[in-house]
């Protein structure tokens, strides 16, 4: 099976990866005829970043679910694996499951990282010029840029990020990716352009991949140099609270974006390093985020733009190989893409999407929402009572107490709730579901018709559909049964009663 090595850089990278994980859990299939195994590589030196930690937990739950139930059940239909799982030699990769273990920068000033005091005088003078200026540290004291402590990230300073993240080319992770990379595999890089980590990390990673031939420390150079690479750069899309003491200012977003785009013009798009480049942005002036340079953990609410960004990855995997030809590290026919919605709505529902997007995600997300709603509101009352639960393999109380359900699936579904809630409360909002309302009005814009011969869509009806679907079916184990049965049943309910095609 071909693989997609997915580099998620910085906080935005982690949040886009989170959105992608939910799409894959809902059954959105990346790839056209090909199926892909996703290998996420999160790059963020800010280890205490809450967005990063939430995404890591989510990926761990996803991986545990697919390990137990496989990927042939509709939901969780794409394998996500860690780089560690691909490596035959134990102990070579020391980072956490999905995160690239960059040399620890925690508690270290940038001055110490570059060993400023040992530099030759001319080099030191150059470094002084390149890293002149002021910023604030995690105690909100104004300090020289060289004295920034990097355990809260690069605080919107890509010039520092580019130096620190350049260690990626010497990392064990990069060597392992190179030696495992095959001709059919693809690479996708997610970054934001208006911060520090993503803006710095994207060109560096891209350059190291395309310049693989000149890296003596790695194998598989040829495949890597001519890899099919897609990239997503997220332009400013959210607002932050005004805080004169913070180095993060909304007014800087556009200037930083322009500067980075100018750099990309020559070094990313100009030299045709990327086969498909996705730009995404939103000028909607919405609810401002708390101005947190990183010292409070940087936990930003999920945003629709991150979901739309995740669609770029799905789109990239649908592009045929022939259109992604690369020769000597240069894309033959680079393509640049954007994303739009049908209506400029402050609160987006599926009806505000173009048909293609609506079909791509509306149906699977609604399936997963129906599944989630049942687990949340009805499962406890149905277990060991309904035939679908009592037929073998049993979905009984013991199953609900096992780690598959109690830890991983419940954890994942709880994160799904948070994700939907955060997107619904954000501005611009994405709120396609009435999660607190009845089953029949769950999907906004979809009316369930009832009459003399068409029963109401409620839990008895839902149970009836589950029982009918499960009747006579053989399932290898309870884990597969739960996922496959709900996937098929929700699909049937949505097409027969909710008006989905």
């Amino acid at each position: 099976m071909a693989r997609l090595y997915l580099f998620a850089i910085g906080g935005t990278g982690a949040r886009v990866l989170k959105s992608l994980t939910f799409l894959l859990a809902a059954g959105v299939k990346p790839g056209g005829r090909n199926t892909y195994e996703i290998v996420p590589v999160i790059i963020d030196p800010h280890k205490s970043n809450e967005d990063l930690k939430r995404t890591e937990r989510l990926l761990e739950d996803y991986e545990a679910i697919t390990k137990a139930a496989g990927v042939d059940n509709g939901f969780f239909g794409t394998r996500i694996t860690t780089l560690k799982n691909l490596v035959s030699t134990d102990g070579r990769l020391t980072g956490s499951s999905f995160t690239c273990n960059l040399q620890q920068v925690a508690g270290k000033k940038f001055r110490e990282y570059i060993d400023f005091s040992s530099l030759e005088p001319p080099t030191r003078a150059l470094a002084d010029i390149l890293f002149s200026g002021k910023t604030i540290n995690k105690r909100h004291d104004e300090v020289d840029l060289l004295d920034i402590e990097m355990d809260i990230g690069f605080v919107g300073n890509p010039n520092i990020g580019s130096v620190v993240l350049n260690q990626f080319k010497d990392s064990e992770e990069f060597k392992e990716i190179a030696s495992n990379f095959n001709a059919d595999d693809r690479i996708f890089i997610i970054s934001s352009i208006f911060g520090g980590t993503g803006a710095a990390g994207f060109p560096i990673i891209l350059k190291n991949i395309r310049d693989a031939m000149s890296n003596a420390a790695i194998d598989g150079k040829g495949f890597l140099q001519n890899a099919k690479i897609g990239a997503l750069t997220v332009l400013p899309y959210f607002n932050v609270e005004k805080d004169a003491d913070s180095p993060i200012q909304k007014s800087d977003f556009i200037a930083k974006t322009k500067a980075a785009l100018y750099y990309y013009k020559d070094n990313v798009t100009g030299n045709q390093s990327v086969n498909t480049m996705y730009y995404i942005a939103d000028t909607f002036s919405g609810k401002p985020y708390k101005n947190d340079p990183g010292d409070n953990g940087q936990k930003n609410s999920a945003h629709f733009i991150e979901l739309a960004s995740a669609l770029a990855i799905i789109d990239f995997l649908k592009i045929p190989d022939a259109e992604l030809e690369t020769v000597e590290g240069s894309a033959r026919r680079p393509v640049y893409k954007e994303f739009s919605i049908l209506n400029d709505a402050a609160e987006i529902t599926f009806g505000d999407f173009e048909d293609y997007t609506s079909q791509l995600i509306g149906f699977p997300l609604s399936q997963f929402a129906l599944f989630r709603k049942y687990v949340n509101e009805q499962l406890d009352q149905s277990v060991e009572k309904e035939p679908w639960s009592l037929d073998k393999p049993l979905v009984d109380r013991q199953f609900l107490d096992d780690s598959f359900f109690r830890t991983h699936l419940s954890g994942f579904l709880s994160s799904w709730d948070d994700w939907l809630k955060e997107m619904a409360e954000n501005r611009r909002a994405f709120a396609p579901f009435n999660t607190g309302a009845g089953l029949d009005v769950l999907v906004k814009g979809k009316t369930v018709k009832t009459g003399w011969f068409t029963p109401k869509v409620n839990y008895p009806y839902y149970n009836g559909c589950l029982n009918k679907m499960a009747k006579g079916q053989k399932y290898p184990d309870a884990e597969q049964k739960l996922l496959r049965l709900f996937f098929n049943t929700t699909a049937q309910m949505l097409t027969s009663r909710f008006g989905f095609k």
């Binding site: 060991e384 008895p460 009836g464 029982n467």
Partner: protein
């Protein structure tokens, strides 16, 4: 067949549920008190009892067959329906005959005999419903009630 049903009902019918005169009437002892040539009520009522019980079973397990009618308490409701219907029929038929004087006048049949037979019929109906729904072979064809019995779910 009459003997078969008679043996069933009289298994706990002769004493204490109803008298042997009632048993003779149900066997078909004719109005002239000469032979068992009148209506064989044991057979008729027995067949009706089986038919009604099967219908009630079909009603819950295969006609209604809904998730919200598949719990233990619903089983007891349908069992009660079968019991009541069979009790009513087994009471009404002999009671009407007695009231109309359409039986051998040498037999002594009273209200309590009619009640006793009705109770006996209701009991057999209950047992039959219990047996049909306990053996999985029949209910396995139900979508929503394939696990419904008197004790679960």
């Amino acid at each position: 067949m009459n003997d078969f049903f008679a043996s069933l009902y009289e298994l706990f019918g002769i004493a204490p549920f109803y008298s042997s005169d009632m048993g003779d009437h149900l066997r078909g002892w004719d109005i002239t008190c000469s032979d068992f040539i009148a209506t064989p009520w044991y057979t008729y009522i027995g067949l009706i009892m089986i038919g009604i019980t099967l219908f009630v079973y079909m009603l819950q397990y295969h006609i209604i067959d809904r998730s919200d009618w598949s719990k233990r308490r619903h089983w007891w409701m349908f069992a009660l329906l079968a019991v009541l219907l069979n009790f009513s029929i087994a009471f009404t038929i002999p009671y009407n005959a007695v009231q109309a004087g359409e039986y051998c006048n040498q037999l002594i049949i009273g209200f309590s005999d009619c009640m006793g037979f009705a109770f006996s019929n209701a009991l057999w109906s209950f047992l039959l419903f219990l047996i049909i729904t306990t053996i999985p072979v029949f209910r396995q064809f139900s979508v929503n009630c394939s696990h419904t019995t008197f004790w679960k779910p």
